[in-house]
Symmetry: C2
Subunit: 228 residues, 2 copies
DNA sequence: TCAGAATGCGAGCAATTGCTCAGGTTTTGT
DNA sequence: ACAAAACCTGAGCAATTGCTCGCATTCTGA
Protein backbone atom coordinates (compact mmCIF):
# COMPACT_ATOMS: atom_id res chain seq x y z
CA UNK A 1 0.00 0.00 0.00
CA UNK A 2 2.41 2.62 -1.16
CA UNK A 3 1.29 6.16 -1.64
CA UNK A 4 0.81 6.42 -5.39
CA UNK A 5 3.01 4.05 -7.20
CA UNK A 6 2.52 5.29 -10.70
CA UNK A 7 0.41 7.85 -12.45
CA UNK A 8 0.48 6.82 -16.04
CA UNK A 9 -0.56 3.48 -17.39
CA UNK A 10 2.28 1.34 -18.60
CA UNK A 11 0.64 0.71 -21.89
CA UNK A 12 -2.19 1.97 -23.97
CA UNK A 13 -4.42 -0.67 -25.49
CA UNK A 14 -3.50 -0.83 -29.15
CA UNK A 15 -4.48 -4.30 -30.23
CA UNK A 16 -8.07 -5.37 -30.33
CA UNK A 17 -7.47 -7.95 -27.65
CA UNK A 18 -6.36 -5.43 -25.12
CA UNK A 19 -9.16 -3.03 -25.94
CA UNK A 20 -11.66 -5.70 -25.06
CA UNK A 21 -9.71 -6.35 -21.91
CA UNK A 22 -9.93 -2.73 -20.88
CA UNK A 23 -13.59 -2.72 -21.66
CA UNK A 24 -14.33 -5.78 -19.61
CA UNK A 25 -12.34 -4.31 -16.76
CA UNK A 26 -14.52 -1.23 -16.77
CA UNK A 27 -17.68 -3.30 -16.90
CA UNK A 28 -16.44 -5.44 -14.07
CA UNK A 29 -15.75 -2.27 -12.11
CA UNK A 30 -19.28 -1.09 -12.70
CA UNK A 31 -20.73 -4.43 -11.65
CA UNK A 32 -18.76 -4.58 -8.47
CA UNK A 33 -19.57 -1.00 -7.61
CA UNK A 34 -23.26 -1.76 -7.99
CA UNK A 35 -23.10 -5.01 -6.06
CA UNK A 36 -20.71 -4.20 -3.25
CA UNK A 37 -20.18 -0.47 -3.27
CA UNK A 38 -16.92 1.41 -3.37
CA UNK A 39 -15.63 -0.21 -0.22
CA UNK A 40 -15.95 -3.58 -1.87
CA UNK A 41 -14.05 -2.52 -4.95
CA UNK A 42 -10.72 -4.29 -5.08
CA UNK A 43 -8.29 -4.46 -7.89
CA UNK A 44 -8.00 -8.18 -7.37
CA UNK A 45 -11.74 -8.51 -7.41
CA UNK A 46 -12.08 -6.45 -10.55
CA UNK A 47 -9.53 -8.55 -12.37
CA UNK A 48 -11.27 -11.67 -11.17
CA UNK A 49 -14.69 -10.51 -12.28
CA UNK A 50 -13.33 -9.51 -15.65
CA UNK A 51 -11.68 -12.90 -16.00
CA UNK A 52 -8.17 -11.53 -16.26
CA UNK A 53 -5.30 -11.23 -13.84
CA UNK A 54 -4.36 -8.25 -11.71
CA UNK A 55 -1.15 -7.92 -13.60
CA UNK A 56 -3.03 -7.19 -16.79
CA UNK A 57 -5.14 -4.66 -14.99
CA UNK A 58 -2.04 -2.78 -13.97
CA UNK A 59 -0.87 -2.69 -17.54
CA UNK A 60 -3.61 -0.28 -18.46
CA UNK A 61 -4.56 1.35 -15.21
CA UNK A 62 -1.85 2.83 -13.05
CA UNK A 63 -3.88 2.43 -9.89
CA UNK A 64 -7.26 1.70 -8.46
CA UNK A 65 -8.56 5.23 -8.69
CA UNK A 66 -7.88 5.46 -12.37
CA UNK A 67 -10.22 2.56 -12.91
CA UNK A 68 -13.11 4.47 -11.44
CA UNK A 69 -12.06 7.64 -13.18
CA UNK A 70 -12.16 5.90 -16.52
CA UNK A 71 -15.55 4.45 -15.73
CA UNK A 72 -16.88 7.85 -14.81
CA UNK A 73 -15.57 9.28 -18.04
CA UNK A 74 -17.23 6.56 -20.10
CA UNK A 75 -20.45 7.04 -18.22
CA UNK A 76 -20.61 10.80 -18.39
CA UNK A 77 -19.83 10.72 -22.08
CA UNK A 78 -22.84 8.51 -22.58
CA UNK A 79 -24.98 10.82 -20.54
CA UNK A 80 -23.81 13.82 -22.49
CA UNK A 81 -24.74 12.18 -25.71
CA UNK A 82 -28.31 11.30 -24.82
CA UNK A 83 -28.89 14.74 -23.41
CA UNK A 84 -27.47 16.38 -26.47
CA UNK A 85 -30.19 14.62 -28.42
CA UNK A 86 -32.87 16.18 -26.31
CA UNK A 87 -31.25 19.50 -26.91
CA UNK A 88 -31.67 19.13 -30.64
CA UNK A 89 -35.27 18.05 -30.26
CA UNK A 90 -36.05 21.21 -28.49
CA UNK A 91 -34.51 23.95 -30.53
CA UNK A 92 -37.73 25.07 -32.18
CA UNK A 93 -40.17 24.52 -29.36
CA UNK A 94 -41.69 27.07 -27.05
CA UNK A 95 -39.98 27.75 -23.78
CA UNK A 96 -42.65 25.93 -21.85
CA UNK A 97 -42.32 22.78 -23.89
CA UNK A 98 -38.58 22.94 -23.95
CA UNK A 99 -38.33 23.31 -20.19
CA UNK A 100 -40.67 20.43 -19.74
CA UNK A 101 -38.54 18.28 -22.00
CA UNK A 102 -35.36 19.26 -20.22
CA UNK A 103 -36.84 18.37 -16.87
CA UNK A 104 -37.95 14.99 -18.14
CA UNK A 105 -34.58 14.42 -19.72
CA UNK A 106 -32.84 15.13 -16.46
CA UNK A 107 -35.06 12.72 -14.56
CA UNK A 108 -34.77 10.09 -17.27
CA UNK A 109 -31.02 10.19 -17.34
CA UNK A 110 -31.07 9.71 -13.61
CA UNK A 111 -33.33 6.72 -13.85
CA UNK A 112 -31.25 4.93 -16.44
CA UNK A 113 -28.72 2.82 -14.67
CA UNK A 114 -30.00 4.40 -11.51
CA UNK A 115 -27.91 2.30 -9.22
CA UNK A 116 -24.69 2.96 -11.07
CA UNK A 117 -25.56 6.63 -11.43
CA UNK A 118 -26.07 6.82 -7.73
CA UNK A 119 -22.84 5.17 -6.78
CA UNK A 120 -20.81 7.09 -9.26
CA UNK A 121 -22.11 10.50 -8.27
CA UNK A 122 -21.63 9.57 -4.65
CA UNK A 123 -18.14 8.27 -5.10
CA UNK A 124 -16.91 11.08 -7.25
CA UNK A 125 -15.30 12.79 -4.28
CA UNK A 126 -13.31 9.66 -3.52
CA UNK A 127 -11.49 9.67 -6.79
CA UNK A 128 -9.98 12.44 -8.72
CA UNK A 129 -13.00 12.79 -10.98
CA UNK A 130 -13.91 16.33 -10.17
CA UNK A 131 -12.21 17.60 -13.33
CA UNK A 132 -14.29 15.24 -15.42
CA UNK A 133 -17.42 16.32 -13.64
CA UNK A 134 -16.58 19.97 -14.10
CA UNK A 135 -16.07 19.43 -17.77
CA UNK A 136 -19.38 17.68 -17.99
CA UNK A 137 -21.16 20.50 -16.24
CA UNK A 138 -19.46 23.14 -18.28
CA UNK A 139 -20.46 21.49 -21.51
CA UNK A 140 -24.01 21.05 -20.34
CA UNK A 141 -24.19 24.67 -19.25
CA UNK A 142 -22.90 25.84 -22.60
CA UNK A 143 -25.54 23.83 -24.39
CA UNK A 144 -28.29 25.26 -22.27
CA UNK A 145 -26.87 28.77 -22.54
CA UNK A 146 -26.86 28.66 -26.29
CA UNK A 147 -30.43 27.46 -26.18
CA UNK A 148 -31.35 30.33 -23.90
CA UNK A 149 -29.84 32.71 -26.44
CA UNK A 150 -32.53 31.68 -28.88
CA UNK A 151 -35.19 32.93 -26.51
CA UNK A 152 -33.35 35.94 -25.24
CA UNK A 153 -36.24 38.41 -25.55
CA UNK A 154 -38.75 36.20 -23.87
CA UNK A 155 -36.53 35.68 -20.85
CA UNK A 156 -36.36 37.84 -17.80
CA UNK A 157 -32.77 37.14 -16.84
CA UNK A 158 -29.79 39.02 -18.17
CA UNK A 159 -26.81 36.83 -17.41
CA UNK A 160 -27.65 33.85 -19.56
CA UNK A 161 -24.53 31.96 -18.67
CA UNK A 162 -25.15 32.15 -14.98
CA UNK A 163 -28.78 31.29 -15.61
CA UNK A 164 -27.83 28.26 -17.63
CA UNK A 165 -25.48 27.09 -14.96
CA UNK A 166 -28.11 27.49 -12.30
CA UNK A 167 -30.67 25.59 -14.32
CA UNK A 168 -28.27 22.74 -14.95
CA UNK A 169 -27.16 22.63 -11.34
CA UNK A 170 -30.72 22.71 -10.12
CA UNK A 171 -31.98 19.92 -12.30
CA UNK A 172 -28.98 17.72 -11.69
CA UNK A 173 -29.07 18.33 -7.98
CA UNK A 174 -32.76 17.71 -7.58
CA UNK A 175 -32.63 14.60 -9.73
CA UNK A 176 -29.85 13.14 -7.68
CA UNK A 177 -31.52 14.07 -4.47
CA UNK A 178 -34.76 12.49 -5.56
CA UNK A 179 -32.97 9.35 -6.68
CA UNK A 180 -31.20 8.93 -3.39
CA UNK A 181 -33.70 10.12 -0.86
CA UNK A 182 -37.11 10.07 -2.51
CA UNK A 183 -37.13 7.59 -5.39
CA UNK A 184 -40.92 7.75 -5.61
CA UNK A 185 -40.64 11.34 -6.76
CA UNK A 186 -38.73 10.33 -9.85
CA UNK A 187 -41.89 8.85 -11.31
CA UNK A 188 -44.32 11.35 -9.91
CA UNK A 189 -46.01 13.55 -12.53
CA UNK A 190 -46.45 16.36 -10.06
CA UNK A 191 -42.74 16.37 -9.41
CA UNK A 192 -42.12 16.97 -13.08
CA UNK A 193 -44.68 19.71 -13.00
CA UNK A 194 -43.11 21.39 -10.03
CA UNK A 195 -39.64 21.24 -11.51
CA UNK A 196 -40.89 22.75 -14.73
CA UNK A 197 -42.49 25.51 -12.80
CA UNK A 198 -39.33 26.05 -10.84
CA UNK A 199 -37.24 26.49 -13.95
CA UNK A 200 -39.80 28.43 -15.92
CA UNK A 201 -40.58 30.71 -13.01
CA UNK A 202 -36.92 31.51 -12.86
CA UNK A 203 -36.35 32.12 -16.54
CA UNK A 204 -39.64 33.81 -17.34
CA UNK A 205 -41.81 34.44 -14.29
CA UNK A 206 -44.38 36.32 -16.34
CA UNK A 207 -45.02 33.35 -18.57
CA UNK A 208 -45.03 31.09 -15.56
CA UNK A 209 -47.65 33.15 -13.79
CA UNK A 210 -49.88 33.16 -16.86
CA UNK A 211 -49.51 29.44 -17.00
CA UNK A 212 -50.42 28.82 -13.40
CA UNK A 213 -53.29 31.28 -13.69
CA UNK A 214 -54.84 29.46 -16.63
CA UNK A 215 -54.54 26.20 -14.75
CA UNK A 216 -57.10 26.94 -12.10
CA UNK A 217 -58.61 23.54 -11.67
CA UNK A 218 -57.96 21.68 -14.89
CA UNK A 219 -54.97 19.47 -15.29
CA UNK A 220 -52.28 20.89 -17.43
CA UNK A 221 -51.99 18.72 -20.50
CA UNK A 222 -48.39 18.44 -21.44
CA UNK A 223 -47.61 15.32 -23.34
CA UNK A 224 -44.21 14.62 -24.69
CA UNK A 225 -42.75 11.41 -23.49
CA UNK A 226 -39.04 11.73 -23.36
CA UNK A 227 -37.41 8.54 -24.43
CA UNK A 228 -33.88 7.20 -24.56
CA UNK B 1 -10.12 -5.90 9.64
CA UNK B 2 -13.17 -7.91 10.45
CA UNK B 3 -16.49 -7.13 8.91
CA UNK B 4 -18.31 -5.21 11.62
CA UNK B 5 -17.13 -6.22 15.02
CA UNK B 6 -19.65 -4.46 17.15
CA UNK B 7 -22.55 -2.13 16.61
CA UNK B 8 -23.13 -0.62 20.00
CA UNK B 9 -20.59 1.27 22.01
CA UNK B 10 -19.38 -0.54 25.11
CA UNK B 11 -20.03 2.38 27.34
CA UNK B 12 -21.82 5.65 27.32
CA UNK B 13 -19.86 8.57 28.67
CA UNK B 14 -21.27 9.30 32.10
CA UNK B 15 -18.50 11.03 33.96
CA UNK B 16 -17.31 14.45 32.94
CA UNK B 17 -13.89 13.12 32.06
CA UNK B 18 -15.20 10.74 29.46
CA UNK B 19 -17.52 13.32 27.99
CA UNK B 20 -14.55 15.50 27.27
CA UNK B 21 -12.83 12.50 25.81
CA UNK B 22 -15.67 11.85 23.43
CA UNK B 23 -15.71 15.48 22.50
CA UNK B 24 -12.04 15.65 21.77
CA UNK B 25 -12.34 12.49 19.71
CA UNK B 26 -14.98 14.12 17.55
CA UNK B 27 -12.91 17.25 17.16
CA UNK B 28 -9.90 15.19 16.25
CA UNK B 29 -12.01 13.41 13.68
CA UNK B 30 -13.05 16.72 12.19
CA UNK B 31 -9.47 17.96 12.07
CA UNK B 32 -8.16 14.88 10.39
CA UNK B 33 -11.00 14.85 7.90
CA UNK B 34 -10.19 18.41 6.97
CA UNK B 35 -6.45 17.83 6.76
CA UNK B 36 -6.21 14.41 5.16
CA UNK B 37 -9.67 13.54 3.91
CA UNK B 38 -11.66 10.42 4.60
CA UNK B 39 -8.97 8.15 3.26
CA UNK B 40 -6.58 9.52 5.82
CA UNK B 41 -8.95 8.95 8.70
CA UNK B 42 -7.66 6.18 10.92
CA UNK B 43 -8.89 5.16 14.32
CA UNK B 44 -5.30 5.11 15.53
CA UNK B 45 -4.72 8.54 14.09
CA UNK B 46 -7.87 9.92 15.66
CA UNK B 47 -6.92 8.61 19.07
CA UNK B 48 -3.45 10.01 18.64
CA UNK B 49 -4.68 13.43 17.61
CA UNK B 50 -7.09 13.50 20.52
CA UNK B 51 -4.29 12.53 22.86
CA UNK B 52 -5.90 9.33 24.02
CA UNK B 53 -5.42 5.69 23.18
CA UNK B 54 -7.28 3.65 20.64
CA UNK B 55 -8.67 1.51 23.37
CA UNK B 56 -10.50 4.45 24.84
CA UNK B 57 -11.90 5.31 21.48
CA UNK B 58 -13.42 1.88 21.20
CA UNK B 59 -15.08 2.29 24.56
CA UNK B 60 -17.42 4.89 23.13
CA UNK B 61 -17.47 4.20 19.44
CA UNK B 62 -18.13 0.68 18.23
CA UNK B 63 -16.30 1.24 14.99
CA UNK B 64 -14.77 3.77 12.71
CA UNK B 65 -17.96 4.66 10.90
CA UNK B 66 -19.75 5.56 14.06
CA UNK B 67 -17.16 8.21 14.69
CA UNK B 68 -18.04 10.01 11.50
CA UNK B 69 -21.73 9.43 12.06
CA UNK B 70 -21.54 11.09 15.42
CA UNK B 71 -19.61 13.98 13.97
CA UNK B 72 -22.22 14.44 11.27
CA UNK B 73 -24.94 14.44 13.88
CA UNK B 74 -23.19 17.06 15.95
CA UNK B 75 -22.60 19.17 12.89
CA UNK B 76 -26.08 18.96 11.44
CA UNK B 77 -27.59 19.77 14.82
CA UNK B 78 -25.57 22.94 14.86
CA UNK B 79 -26.67 23.78 11.37
CA UNK B 80 -30.27 23.17 12.24
CA UNK B 81 -30.05 25.54 15.14
CA UNK B 82 -28.63 28.49 13.27
CA UNK B 83 -31.14 28.06 10.50
CA UNK B 84 -33.99 27.82 12.94
CA UNK B 85 -32.99 31.28 14.10
CA UNK B 86 -33.36 32.65 10.63
CA UNK B 87 -36.74 31.06 10.47
CA UNK B 88 -37.92 33.02 13.49
CA UNK B 89 -36.52 36.24 12.12
CA UNK B 90 -38.60 35.87 9.06
CA UNK B 91 -42.05 34.98 10.26
CA UNK B 92 -43.52 38.43 9.80
CA UNK B 93 -41.68 39.54 6.71
CA UNK B 94 -42.92 39.68 3.16
CA UNK B 95 -42.30 36.73 0.95
CA UNK B 96 -39.68 38.58 -1.01
CA UNK B 97 -37.67 39.46 2.06
CA UNK B 98 -38.11 36.08 3.61
CA UNK B 99 -36.91 34.29 0.52
CA UNK B 100 -33.94 36.56 0.34
CA UNK B 101 -33.08 35.79 3.93
CA UNK B 102 -33.44 32.08 3.42
CA UNK B 103 -31.16 32.14 0.44
CA UNK B 104 -28.54 34.06 2.36
CA UNK B 105 -28.92 31.71 5.29
CA UNK B 106 -28.32 28.73 3.07
CA UNK B 107 -25.20 30.25 1.58
CA UNK B 108 -23.95 31.38 4.97
CA UNK B 109 -24.33 28.01 6.54
CA UNK B 110 -22.34 26.58 3.67
CA UNK B 111 -19.57 29.08 4.14
CA UNK B 112 -19.18 28.42 7.85
CA UNK B 113 -16.69 25.63 8.30
CA UNK B 114 -16.72 25.36 4.56
CA UNK B 115 -14.02 22.76 4.42
CA UNK B 116 -15.63 20.51 6.98
CA UNK B 117 -19.03 21.04 5.42
CA UNK B 118 -17.62 19.98 2.12
CA UNK B 119 -15.98 16.84 3.35
CA UNK B 120 -18.92 15.78 5.44
CA UNK B 121 -21.48 16.18 2.70
CA UNK B 122 -19.17 14.38 0.34
CA UNK B 123 -18.43 11.54 2.68
CA UNK B 124 -21.96 10.97 3.78
CA UNK B 125 -22.38 8.09 1.36
CA UNK B 126 -19.38 6.35 2.89
CA UNK B 127 -20.90 6.05 6.28
CA UNK B 128 -24.35 5.15 7.34
CA UNK B 129 -25.35 8.76 7.79
CA UNK B 130 -28.17 8.88 5.31
CA UNK B 131 -30.75 8.49 8.08
CA UNK B 132 -29.32 11.49 9.88
CA UNK B 133 -29.33 13.47 6.68
CA UNK B 134 -32.89 12.48 5.95
CA UNK B 135 -33.97 13.59 9.36
CA UNK B 136 -32.24 16.88 8.87
CA UNK B 137 -33.95 17.45 5.56
CA UNK B 138 -37.31 16.44 6.88
CA UNK B 139 -37.08 18.85 9.76
CA UNK B 140 -35.95 21.63 7.50
CA UNK B 141 -38.75 20.94 5.08
CA UNK B 142 -41.30 21.00 7.87
CA UNK B 143 -40.03 24.35 9.05
CA UNK B 144 -40.25 25.81 5.59
CA UNK B 145 -43.63 24.23 4.98
CA UNK B 146 -45.09 25.77 8.08
CA UNK B 147 -43.70 29.09 7.01
CA UNK B 148 -45.31 28.66 3.62
CA UNK B 149 -48.63 28.06 5.34
CA UNK B 150 -48.50 31.61 6.62
CA UNK B 151 -48.46 32.90 3.07
CA UNK B 152 -50.80 30.39 1.59
CA UNK B 153 -52.97 32.85 -0.36
CA UNK B 154 -50.07 34.68 -1.88
CA UNK B 155 -48.53 31.51 -3.21
CA UNK B 156 -49.22 29.85 -6.51
CA UNK B 157 -48.46 26.31 -5.50
CA UNK B 158 -50.92 23.93 -3.95
CA UNK B 159 -48.85 21.17 -2.44
CA UNK B 160 -46.97 23.13 0.17
CA UNK B 161 -45.08 20.16 1.52
CA UNK B 162 -43.69 19.19 -1.83
CA UNK B 163 -42.92 22.84 -2.48
CA UNK B 164 -41.07 23.16 0.79
CA UNK B 165 -39.06 20.07 0.06
CA UNK B 166 -38.15 21.33 -3.35
CA UNK B 167 -37.07 24.68 -2.00
CA UNK B 168 -34.92 23.09 0.66
CA UNK B 169 -33.40 20.64 -1.77
CA UNK B 170 -32.71 23.34 -4.28
CA UNK B 171 -30.99 25.69 -1.90
CA UNK B 172 -28.98 22.98 -0.24
CA UNK B 173 -27.97 21.50 -3.56
CA UNK B 174 -26.98 24.74 -5.17
CA UNK B 175 -25.06 25.86 -2.10
CA UNK B 176 -23.08 22.66 -2.02
CA UNK B 177 -22.46 22.77 -5.70
CA UNK B 178 -21.25 26.33 -5.53
CA UNK B 179 -19.00 25.52 -2.60
CA UNK B 180 -17.39 22.63 -4.36
CA UNK B 181 -17.22 23.74 -7.94
CA UNK B 182 -17.63 27.52 -7.99
CA UNK B 183 -16.58 28.97 -4.65
CA UNK B 184 -16.55 32.50 -6.10
CA UNK B 185 -20.28 32.30 -6.53
CA UNK B 186 -20.80 31.94 -2.80
CA UNK B 187 -19.85 35.56 -2.32
CA UNK B 188 -21.35 36.91 -5.48
CA UNK B 189 -24.32 39.25 -4.95
CA UNK B 190 -25.81 38.35 -8.28
CA UNK B 191 -25.80 34.71 -7.27
CA UNK B 192 -27.93 35.57 -4.27
CA UNK B 193 -30.20 37.52 -6.53
CA UNK B 194 -30.59 34.69 -8.96
CA UNK B 195 -31.32 32.17 -6.27
CA UNK B 196 -33.94 34.45 -4.75
CA UNK B 197 -35.53 34.79 -8.14
CA UNK B 198 -35.43 31.06 -8.61
CA UNK B 199 -37.27 30.39 -5.39
CA UNK B 200 -39.66 33.29 -5.65
CA UNK B 201 -40.46 32.55 -9.25
CA UNK B 202 -41.39 29.07 -8.18
CA UNK B 203 -43.51 29.98 -5.20
CA UNK B 204 -45.14 33.11 -6.60
CA UNK B 205 -44.28 33.76 -10.24
CA UNK B 206 -46.65 36.73 -10.39
CA UNK B 207 -44.83 38.55 -7.66
CA UNK B 208 -41.54 37.60 -9.19
CA UNK B 209 -42.52 39.01 -12.55
CA UNK B 210 -43.62 42.27 -10.99
CA UNK B 211 -40.34 42.42 -9.22
CA UNK B 212 -38.23 41.86 -12.29
CA UNK B 213 -40.40 44.29 -14.24
CA UNK B 214 -39.81 47.09 -11.77
CA UNK B 215 -36.10 46.44 -11.94
CA UNK B 216 -35.58 47.70 -15.46
CA UNK B 217 -32.22 49.33 -15.17
CA UNK B 218 -31.89 50.23 -11.52
CA UNK B 219 -30.22 47.92 -9.10
CA UNK B 220 -32.61 46.15 -6.88
CA UNK B 221 -32.05 47.43 -3.39
CA UNK B 222 -32.42 44.59 -0.98
CA UNK B 223 -30.44 45.12 2.15
CA UNK B 224 -30.60 42.70 4.99
CA UNK B 225 -27.30 41.29 5.95
CA UNK B 226 -27.82 37.82 7.25
CA UNK B 227 -25.58 37.27 10.19
CA UNK B 228 -24.83 34.35 12.45
C1' DT C 1 9.19 -18.23 -40.59
C1' DC C 2 10.50 -16.13 -36.64
C1' DA C 3 12.24 -12.26 -33.80
C1' DG C 4 10.69 -8.91 -31.09
C1' DA C 5 6.87 -6.43 -29.40
C1' DA C 6 2.58 -6.61 -27.12
C1' DT C 7 -0.11 -8.87 -24.00
C1' DG C 8 -1.22 -11.68 -20.12
C1' DC C 9 -0.33 -14.27 -15.81
C1' DG C 10 -0.61 -14.82 -10.58
C1' DA C 11 2.05 -15.92 -6.32
C1' DG C 12 3.36 -13.14 -2.98
C1' DC C 13 5.48 -8.83 -0.73
C1' DA C 14 5.13 -4.80 2.08
C1' DA C 15 2.31 -2.00 4.26
C1' DT C 16 -1.60 -0.72 6.69
C1' DT C 17 -5.74 -1.02 9.05
C1' DG C 18 -9.56 -1.84 12.38
C1' DC C 19 -9.94 -3.59 16.54
C1' DT C 20 -9.06 -6.52 21.14
C1' DC C 21 -7.74 -7.55 25.69
C1' DA C 22 -5.25 -7.94 29.92
C1' DG C 23 -4.09 -5.05 32.86
C1' DG C 24 -3.26 -0.29 35.20
C1' DT C 25 -5.38 4.32 36.93
C1' DT C 26 -8.95 7.46 38.51
C1' DT C 27 -13.44 8.51 40.35
C1' DT C 28 -17.47 7.60 43.13
C1' DG C 29 -20.22 6.38 46.93
C1' DT C 30 -20.27 5.08 51.57
C1' DA D 1 -10.42 4.64 54.04
C1' DC D 2 -11.58 1.49 50.69
C1' DA D 3 -13.96 -1.34 47.44
C1' DA D 4 -16.36 -1.22 43.27
C1' DA D 5 -17.25 1.00 39.12
C1' DA D 6 -15.77 3.79 35.53
C1' DC D 7 -12.11 4.92 32.84
C1' DC D 8 -7.87 4.57 30.22
C1' DT D 9 -3.69 2.30 28.10
C1' DG D 10 -1.08 0.44 24.04
C1' DA D 11 1.31 -3.60 22.21
C1' DG D 12 0.03 -6.42 18.88
C1' DC D 13 -3.15 -9.76 16.21
C1' DA D 14 -5.60 -11.00 12.12
C1' DA D 15 -6.95 -9.64 8.00
C1' DT D 16 -6.78 -7.19 3.87
C1' DT D 17 -5.14 -4.40 0.38
C1' DG D 18 -2.72 -2.25 -3.63
C1' DC D 19 0.67 -3.41 -6.41
C1' DT D 20 5.22 -5.73 -8.50
C1' DC D 21 7.97 -8.72 -11.11
C1' DG D 22 9.72 -12.69 -13.41
C1' DC D 23 7.98 -15.36 -16.69
C1' DA D 24 4.59 -17.41 -20.32
C1' DT D 25 1.71 -16.70 -24.27
C1' DT D 26 0.02 -14.38 -28.41
C1' DC D 27 0.34 -11.19 -32.11
C1' DT D 28 2.65 -8.40 -35.81
C1' DG D 29 5.23 -7.48 -39.76
C1' DA D 30 8.94 -8.36 -42.82
Amino acid sequence: MKKKARINPRKLPTQERSKQLVDSLLSATANILVRRGYEGLTTNRVADEAGVSVGSLYQYFPNKESLVEALIRRWSDGLMETIADHYLEVRNESIETAVDTMVRAALDSTRVDAKLHRILTQQIPNVNALPALELFNRRMSERVASWLELHREELEVEDLHLAAEIVVMTLAGLSDYALIQRPELLDSPSFVQHLSRLVLGYLAPTRASQLSASAGKRRRTSKRLAQS
